[in-house]
Symmetry: C2
Subunit: 392 residues, 2 copies
């Protein structure tokens, strides 16, 4: 038997992070690889209480089919939340609940792009979404990220030169993997360029609530007077990644097609998960919870930076993020650090993600690697960074 | 702003069932439309107990990221279940857990088909999966369903005539919407044709456990010595539709690509839902539960057939299913019953699904409509069928 694989999927490989995630299941390995939230940051007491409430009051709703658009009360609560807390939902928008933020990109790539079309993205960028875009046979063109976000000149050049650009994929807050936050000026610049060239923006904001230093900046969505921005958010980093609930605010003009795509993909998002999010959002003090987890990540990021500061100067460069889950490290004078990362996991049982995994151009080289301070314990962070220091 | 919509999605419309589902939210409407399980058949006590166990023992696992392939213990339990209960998992297969059975088709259409390729299916067939196939720009070619299943001669003709047939989509047990069960002879015939023409079979078996009359027949997967069959099943009809857990047994040669597609779609299926399924499958008596819900559906189907039998002869024809959730009704001498169905919901507040929704060729006509006896109460069934009888 010859198994035919579609053109778009034929050359797809599993995400390097998901593969490293398997190594990380070895209890001897210290994993600084996956973007998992800290166990400390899970509101387990609230969730246990909510599970009791669902069990006693909502069990039938949790177990039966619901709407493809999402559980109506959760949709309303999220519209209000985005409006009041983030100024990121307008009268021209509608709101779709999805099975984790990854599905926002899955639907966008499917609805907005034909095979051979182009998506512009930051270089480096989040491998999960890059792979998702690739899996629809769509070309990725990367634009370098500077210290204050994407390079606007090169972005405009790409918009002028690339044919059939369907959208611009951006992570303005604590970018994955670089940890960099896009400046307000550049956010405005991106929006103006999108308007000028008639191109949509896919604004991915999984980490927006995880700021622990500096001042919050408005989302690009908050500037969206023309209906140009698809704004993707998630409960993964503030409530739970395992329950798989994300949501997106998007222009009403395209909403209907996204709902059809959602129906075709998985009918609707799991109701047990949606009810959990709904009760957490409406009955608990979300701001207080976000403040608490911000403190946890601030401490854990500090532990990692302190440990990194012990490594002799000149051996390793690294970002000092204002939020999110990641520190981005660069080996000076090195062309590619994949071998170093492989050696780390194999010989020293420390898992980090090589920067080459995050390149829009596959097969490229990167002197950088990504580490998370979220999932490991403080002790593991110190120990792992010491091991990295010795291995350098 | 001009919003570009991809070629494959441009002409996609929402599923007629999902749209009728919205009418059905009106408490005045008796809905015989959606394929929802009966509330009576929900094992709510077991689920409430399992929620307590997860809360007390597995909460971190429920809340953190997991593997794209599925929760490893659930995968192992399902392999064993398919092997021992259904003889439908071989050494050449692997098992993927997905977010409801709909996602089995989503992944199959994406991994196996390019735009312009062809999928052969039963005519009529399940609208959710037909729409899913369409949403990848894939052509559907229908082959008529007879009283004992798909017409094998016409199937072979289609295999000879149609270019680039990537797979054959079949629902052998209590087919949706017709309620028809494919004979053993035809199951073997389909497999032989797939082998002869080197084409995969997508065997969809959401209702297999819901047999309440006649003798169980072996799945096509159980005959699969060559690695030709993708076998899709779900927890939706025996445990809960709202938690969105399905699974598929498929040849190892294509498994890796399905896992990558799953990663790109939604990373992994919700862990709370997977843990619920795992404990239900391994700690509760599934056979006993299936026997109990079989009795419920037997009774409810009987209530519907008894009520239909009151309608004066010649006015309405209908199937007498051996299992599943649906009765398929046909208006004799009528070309298309869409107007009748519209009148039913608008003037008489009874929702059924017009047969035209289930046609592989869009815009076609059908003298039939689908009714479910699962979700409505016995009283609602009797009342709705009386209303239908009067409206005829």
């Amino acid at each position: 038997m010859h198994y035919y694989i579609s053109n778009k999927m034929r050359n797809m490989k599993p995400s390097a992070i998901r593969e490293i995630f398997k190594y990380a299941a070895d209890p001897q390995v210290i994993s600084l690889s996956a973007g998992s939230p800290s166990v400390e940051a899970l509101p387990v007491e609230a969730i246990a209480r909510i599970m009791n409430e669902i069990r006693d009051n909502d069990l039938n709703s949790a177990l039966l089919y619901s709407f493809s658009e999402g559980h109506p009360p959760l949709r309303e609560a999220l519209k209000k939340h985005l409006q009041e807390q983030h100024h990121s939902f307008t009268d021209r928008d509608d709101l779709l609940i999805v099975s984790g933020a990854q599905q926002c990109m899955d639907l966008a790539a499917k609805v907005l792009c034909d095979e051979g079309d182009t998506v512009l993205c930051e270089d480096p960028s989040f491998i999960g979404n890059l792979n998702c875009i690739r899996s629809y046979g769509v070309n990725l063109v990367g634009v370098p990220v500077r210290e204050d976000g994407i390079d606007l000149e090169l972005l405009e050049k790409a918009l002028q030169e690339q044919p059939r650009v369907r959208f611009l994929y951006l992570i303005p807050n604590f970018q994955n993997p670089s940890g960099i936050t896009m400046s307000l000026e550049k956010r405005k610049g991106c929006y103006e360029l999108a308007k000028k060239y008639g191109v949509l923006i896919f604004e991915d904001d999984p980490y927006g609530d995880l700021r622990f230093a500096g001042r919050p900046l408005p989302s690009i969505k908050s500037m969206d007077t023309e209906g140009l921005v698809i704004y993707a958010r998630t409960f993964s980093k503030i409530l739970s990644a395992g329950i798989r609930v994300g949501y997106m605010a998007l222009p009403q003009e395209v909403f209907g097609k996204f709902v059809v795509a959602k129906q075709c993909a998985d009918v609707h998002t799991g109701m047990l998960s949606q009810l959990l999010c709904y009760r957490f959002l409406t009955e608990y003090n979300l701001s207080e919870h976000i403040e608490e987890i911000g403190k946890i990540y601030q401490r854990k990021c500090g532990v990692m930076l302190d440990a990194l500061d012990q490594i002799p100067a000149g051996k390793l460069e690294y970002t000092r993020p204002e939020g999110g889950l990641f520190v981005w490290c660069t080996l000076p004078g090195v062309e590619d650090c994949s071998d170093f990362c492989l050696r780390l996991i194999r010989d020293h049982k420390v898992a980090v993600v090589p920067g080459s995994a995050f390149l829009p151009q596959e097969g490229g080289m990167s002197p950088s690697f990504r580490m998370t301070f979220a999932a490991p314990t403080d002790q593991q962070i110190v120990q792992a960074v010491e091991i990295i220091g010795e291995a350098l």
